[in-house]
């Protein structure tokens, strides 16, 4: 069993490794009840981290390439069309201009996945044919998760049938808000079941859970119910991924690993749009969870505009001149 202290080199030799999936565990309500999350202290840690960690020059370029490889390039709009999705997939295959990647000796770099609505899964799968880039589908009545439960499960099954390798489900926030952890556990269990071999990311919609304590509890319950990833947000809540929420969730991941030995992935989504932010997130993951988590099977950024800023930073690294947004192909 790899642990958090597995060295980066070991992990790098096994780029395609998939850890044993999280099969979950019986719901432990005592554990859920004992969870503590001190908001002020968590905020202090989050606020000082950017000042404590700095990545420069080649290291920064490498870290930004890593961020791209961990990115779920996403389009989740009502006006998505097949052509739009194909364009996004083209960007996922070639996220940075070949000239820049060549200078970095990073040819072949792709994003971690493409993330779309169910109706666009087939289009995306076809567009990514011949690559290893998986398609993720948001599911279960995304983003509110309030459609009939059987339809939500059916939606998962249909997305999987359409070729999605990853399913991003949304939890029923009301279960967390009312402390009905059993209901949340049961719901998550059934969704995991419906996913079959597809990996499931549980979106907690942390911006709607009210407190960090609730975030920590919901994280644990979803992991107990077999989530492969826990994810912050749909991107549609008023507040999406933040560093304090991230710290709370990855500490829950660490606690779950301490208890069960199982490593669960983490995906912050929404609001991460600057290269600098991505570096801070990576540093937080590296320091709190360890290098093993800096691989696409355990960490993803859910982002739509982050890539553009990273491209500009990479061009700056290569040329020494600050770049412009229009110099980089859009997705």
């Amino acid at each position: 069993m790899p642990t958090a202290t597995t060295t980066a080199t070991q992990a790098a030799q096994l780029p395609q490794v998939h850890l044993p999936r999280n099969d979950g565990m019986p719901l432990d309500l005592d554990w859920v009840a004992s969870v503590q999350a001190n908001t002020s202290a968590i905020e202090r840690r989050a606020a000082t981290l950017p000042g404590r960690r700095s990545v420069k020059k080649d290291y920064q370029a490498a870290w930004l390439c890593k961020a791209i490889s961990l990115m779920d390039l996403t389009t989740l709009s009502g006006d998505d069309t097949e052509a739009r999705v194909r364009r996004l997939c083209a960007k996922a295959r070639q996220p940075v201009s070949p000239a820049i990647l060549e200078k970095l000796d990073m040819e072949g770099l792709t994003t971690g996945a493409v993330c779309v609505y169910h109706d666009m899964v087939e289009t995306a799968v076809a567009a990514l044919d011949g690559t290893n880039i998986p398609v993720a589908a948001v599911s279960t009545g995304f983003p509110a998760g309030l459609s009939p439960f059987h339809l939500r499960l059916q939606e998962i099954r249909e997305s999987v049938a359409a070729g999605a390798k990853e399913i991003d489900i949304v939890i029923s926030r009301r279960h967390a808000l009312t402390g009905n952890w059993q209901a949340l556990y049961d719901e998550m269990r059934e969704m995991r079941e419906a996913c079959g071999d597809a990996h499931v990311k549980a979106i907690l919609a942390t911006g709607e859970l009210g407190t960090l304590r609730n975030v920590a509890r919901a994280s644990l319950v979803c992991m107990m119910a077999g989530a492969d990833f826990i994810k912050t947000s749909t991107g549609k809540e008023p507040v999406n991924a933040t560093l304090p929420v991230t710290l709370t969730m990855i500490r829950a991941i660490r606690a779950y690993q301490d208890r069960t030995g199982t490593m669960v992935g983490y995906k912050p989504a929404g609001g991460i749009s600057k290269a600098k932010d991505a570096l801070v997130y990576l540093a937080m993951i590296k320091d709190e969870l360890g290098d093993r988590w800096l691989q696409p099977d355990l960490f993803r950024f859910g982002a739509s505009s982050l890539l553009g800023d990273i491209e500009r930073q990479l061009e700056h690294h290569v040329t020494g001149a600050y770049s412009a947004q229009w110099r980089h192909p859009i997705g």
């Binding site: 202290t5 002020s40 390439c65 890593k66």
Partner: protein, 766 residues
């Protein structure tokens, strides 16, 4: 490594801050740090080197200040002081200008600090320098407000200030900002290892328009410091080790110099089982690995609830492994260099000598570095649980109950700071007041701000830096004291009793009238030589008994102000009922009418009773989401030598002391003791709990020494006209108890002396 390789390893890589500008600055100064006197640099001599501890490289030569140079600096400060004290608004402008100038040169200051001290640039840049700037901004405000808000206070004069090497610029700011704001001028000596940021500060003073002589810096070592202590200054403010603080206490004894000491600590860091353990682990990073643990208020003594200890230690060790140690100028470094090989050797020796518990250490680079260390399984009896290490070494033990946590936490000679981690507000706010320390952080650590006082109790010293409470130490009452002449007891060859019925007053200890241990008594005569009676001659054992009685009365500190007020009013009521009798007693001893004195005593009792539930603390406006409660706590156990107003002298010490929740032992007027001994009956009939007030009689000169030496007293006051300051101040160095030698203090001053401000920081948010 190539980008491709780093892509796999995801290492941090180097992220160095450039030292070029700071090194150029030193070179431009001729490569020498030295004095800044009367607005000018010099003389500058290369008497000893200042080195970068991270590399061992020489940074500059340092001038070792001589006695004559110190005297020149003090003279310049003296000359500048009266003009500086005159215009509060001008002072506010200058302090504001200093803050602005520091902001402009913030990176130079930060880099200089890191080069000189070895602390991570992140800390110098994000903590030391901003906090130092904040002190000048904040104190510009106090300068502006002084005439309105402190109308009966004035500057002390010239302040000699001696600061340590752990926060060279920040300690300079903590010392200079309040002194200047209140109209003092200063002569400051930086630590010998770290003089360079002070040099930049001198340049800033010139640019900010600080008048010549207002700020003087004299560099040097311990000998220079000793010369400053001995110089013609009005106050010594010292931050440093308890050992040196004790020497300074002894050397300044009887000199009339005010003194504030901010000394060592062994601050407890208490983790309850309901705490957010991950956050508490992270807190420890800021508590003991901040500045390589070279922090006087470092949370160096970890106390963990037994049931979660193993889990907590495991989390802590995991976290320790991710601390990055190395070149302090690297922006991605958590732990830098130890300030000097001498300090490194001391840490190594202390840890090396320890044979108890389990050691866990991470790796350290070659050179002047010491790895983050955790030693678990110690007990309070272990040396390392008691002695300050002043390095990145955390020692730990466990506790079972909240009461035991408090007991272990307070089992120390120090009392600077404490951290309490619990998600239960009832528990946290119950523990905070019980901790013997000047600062308590709830679910946090090492939070500091100019608006909240910093300073300790017990052997961590006395005085506060920051906040309104910090201004007390840089001002004095405007009303000049007219020193009274000591009155010798009347003597007689004759010895005829004024009243044939013998009365021999005993001592009043623990609510009972007790015969003196020594078995001696002294006659008391009236002015015409007639014998009025005998009083007991107390000795050191009677002092001991009185302290034990005060210990037994510890519940008094926890009573409500309302209850204490009621009891003090009752004392006044009973005294009033016997006013004529006391007036007559005063007249019989002094030959003068006692009516006015009895009336004044009753008034004083009323005033003290009035204050008992009104001498409120404050909520400081610190820059966090949360509050810093400046709670006024009783000083503890006080012994007071009374002046020679037979009744009022007793009451003016007693009433405010007990009103604030202290226990007190009063040494009655030597010349006129019988009003005090009559007062026993008032106390006995007024519901004053046994041991809260004890009264003894005897020779104040002899008793002063016994009192000052007693290690279980928190304060000694002398209002006596006898010259006892030297004895009291020198002998008090044993436990660094608070001393207050004055005459005719106002009630308000006495209330201040009877209380100590504890700042309880409570960040909140869910």
């Amino acid at each position: 490594m190539t980008v491709k390789e780093i892509f796999e390893t995801m290492d941090y890589g180097p992220a160095p801050e450039s030292a070029a500008e700071a090194l150029q600055w030193i070179a431009d100064k001729g490569g020498i740090a030295g004095h800044y006197i009367d607005g000018k640099f010099g003389p500058l001599r290369d008497d000893f080197p200042s080195t970068n501890p991270a590399t061992g490289e020489r940074l500059a030569g340092v001038t070792k200040g001589t006695e004559a140079e110190v005297a020149t600096a003090v003279k310049a400060a003296r000359k500048a002081q009266s003009a500086w004290a005159k215009d509060h608004h001008k002072r506010a402008r200058v302090l504001y200008a200093i803050a602005r100038q520091m902001q402009k040169h913030s990176r130079l200051l930060a880099v200089m600090e890191t080069l000189d001290n070895g602390k991570p640039i992140r800390e110098a840049r994000d903590i030391d320098v901003p906090l130092a700037i904040r002190h000048f901004y904040h104190h510009a405000g106090y300068a502006q407000l002084m005439s309105d808000e402190l109308p009966d206070r004035e500057a002390l004069g010239v302040c000699g200030q001696i600061i340590p090497w752990n926060f060279p610029l920040l300690m300079l700011a903590w010392k200079i900002a309040p002194a200047l704001a209140m109209g003092n001028t200063v002569v400051l000596k930086p630590a010998e290892y770290t003089s360079l940021s002070a040099m930049v500060f001198c340049e800033i003073c010139t640019a900010a328009g600080v008048p010549p002589g207002v700020v003087n810096i004299v560099t040097g070592d311990g000998e220079t410091g000793a010369a400053l202590v001995a110089a013609d200054v009005d106050k010594i403010a010292f931050t440093g080790s308890t050992a040196v603080g004790r020497i300074i206490r002894q050397q300044t004894a009887g000199s009339g110099k005010a003194l504030s000491l901010e000394l060592g600590g062994k601050s407890p860091y208490i983790v309850f089982d309901d705490a957010d353990l991950d956050s508490a682990v992270e807190g420890l990073v800021d508590a003991i690995w901040f500045n390589q643990g070279q922090v006087c208020c470092a949370g160096s003594r970890l106390l963990v609830h037994e049931g979660v200890a193993d889990r907590f230690y495991a989390k802590l060790k995991t976290r320790m492994n991710t601390l990055r140690m190395g070149n302090p100028l690297d922006k991605c470094i958590d732990v830098g260099a130890i300030v000097d090989p001498v300090q490194l050797d001391q840490i190594k020796q202390m840890v090396g000598d320890n044979t108890e518990g389990d050691n866990f250490q991470t790796a350290a680079p070659e050179g002047c570095f010491y790895p983050p260390t955790l030693i678990t399984g110690l007990s309070p009896a272990s040396t390392l649980m008691q002695e300050e290490i002043f390095g990145p070494v955390l020692v730990s033990t466990t506790f079972r109950t909240p009461a035991e946590a408090v007991e272990i936490a307070n089992n120390t000679r120090y009392g600077l700071a404490a951290s309490v981690w619990s998600e239960n507000i009832n528990l946290a706010l119950d523990i905070a007041p019980k901790l013997v320390s000047g600062i308590v952080w709830v679910n946090g650590t090492n939070m500091m701000d100019a608006a909240a006082g910093f300073g300790g109790v017990r052997e961590s010293g006395f005085g506060r830096e920051g906040g309104w409470e910090g201004l007390q130490g840089y001002t004095k009452p405007k009303a000049a004291q007219k020193p009274a002449k000591p009155i010798a007891p009347y003597t007689s060859e004759d010895g005829t009793p004024a009243d044939p019925l013998d009365r021999t007053a005993k001592l009043y200890i623990g609510g009972k009238q007790a015969r003196p241990d020594g078995g001696y008594s002294t006659p008391v005569f009236n002015p015409r030589g007639k014998l009025l009676g005998h009083v007991s001659d107390a000795n050191r054992k009677d002092i001991r008994n009185a302290v034990e009685a005060m210990n037994a009365a510890k519940g008094w500190a926890k009573t409500t102000g309302h209850l204490r007020a009621q009891i003090i009013y009752y004392i006044a009521e009973n005294l009033n009922a016997r006013a004529d009798e006391f007036a007559a007693r005063i007249k019989s001893m002094t030959g003068k009418s006692g009516t006015a004195e009895v009336d004044a005593a009753i008034q004083t009792l009323f005033s003290a009773a009035a204050w008992a539930d009104k001498f409120d603390g404050q909520v400081h406006g610190v820059p966090i989401r949360g509050v810093a409660l400046a709670m006024k706590e009783p000083v503890g156990k006080i012994a007071a030598l009374c002046d020679d107003t037979p009744l009022l002298g007793l009451v003016q010490a007693m009433a405010p002391a007990i009103a604030m929740g202290n226990r007190i032992t009063l040494v009655a007027s030597h010349a006129f003791p019988l009003a005090a001994t009559d007062f026993y009956q008032i106390l006995e009939t007024s519901d004053v709990p046994a041991g809260v007030v004890n009264i003894i009689t005897g020779d104040p000169a002899a008793l002063a020494s016994d009192i000052a030496k007693h290690l279980d007293l928190d304060a000694v006051w002398s209002f006596s006209p006898r010259d006892l300051a030297e004895t009291i101040e020198r002998e008090s160095a044993g436990n660094l108890k608070r001393t207050w030698v004055t005459q005719n203090p106002t009630l308000k001053e006495t209330l201040h002396a009877a209380t100590e401000v504890k700042n309880v920081w409570i960040p909140y948010g869910e």
